[in-house]
Amino acid sequence: MTQDLTNQTPTGAFELTRVFKAPRSLVWKAWSERERLQEWWGPKGCTLKVADLEFRPGGFFHYAMHFSKDAPPMWGRFMYREIIDQERLVWLNSFSNEGCGITRAPFPQAIPLEILNTVTFEERQGMTTLKLQARPHGASGEEVKVFEAMFTSLAEGYGGTLDQLHDHLAKS
């Protein structure tokens, strides 16, 4: 498994880089086709059902996350802002309702309403590097602070990676 590089530099953004053993054309398809997205996107332990995919700037990817048979699904959506074929994707990610309307996170935490994600695709020798960057969009000052503290600044005070922080907390 290729190592992720999680970067907590104080840019106010969450960054993640991963190299995939696949040509860029295929990786791009995985991001742009309904039945392929359904195979991999979403939190662990959920079954994703795609309600709609309009893969164009201004279009929506609307999906239901089913965590258990007994509970109603949690809905989410992407609103695509920029699509450069096989190079770059920019979208706003948020929770939503069944009708694809934007909603707050379904749990009591001050998460930014929308997160602006940018992912770039680069191919070298048949391998594709994905670089993901996420930052809050249109968030209140407090939400921005929350987000920055969450993804960037917190780790620096603890001398490096979040894993170290995690280990430290587990021990104490």
């Binding site: 991963r18 991999w40 503290a149 600044s153 005070g157």
Partner: protein, 115 residues
């Protein structure tokens, strides 16, 4: 956890001096005067930062001793860490699955003509 409390915690973490104080306290207890030195700040401004950290629940201060040493309350950080983890895991899990999917997808393309 109450939403307000979480906001207070994140607001407390939004300041670089306060994060540095937390990093220092991770190594062990310290009095205000011990904290003044490395940060090159006045005692009142350090005290102000400590007050913010204390009300957010990140640190506690000794009651008995005159110096009232500050101590890191690691339990309070757990909520924050849990939250950070959730977002990171979302992407790491998705990337893991994407990795598997791409491998399978390439294997089937080589065997038969899937697409």
């Amino acid at each position: 956890m109450l939403e307000d409390q979480l906001s207070t915690m994140f607001a407390a973490l939004a300041d670089p001096t306060r994060r540095a104080i937390l990093a220092r306290l991770e190594k062990g207890e310290a009095t205000v005067s011990e904290l003044v030195e490395p940060f090159d700040m006045t005692q009142p401004s350090i005290s102000k930062h400590l007050k913010v950290l204390e009300s957010a629940g990140f640190i506690s201060r000794g009651r008995a001793a005159q110096t009232r040493p500050c101590k890191l309350e690691a339990g309070s950080m757990k909520e924050v860490a849990r939250w950070i983890d959730a977002y990171r895991h979302l992407w790491e899990d998705s990337f893991d699955r994407l990795d598997v999917y791409l491998n399978v997808s390439q294997a089937t393309t080589k065997k038969g003509k899937k697409k």
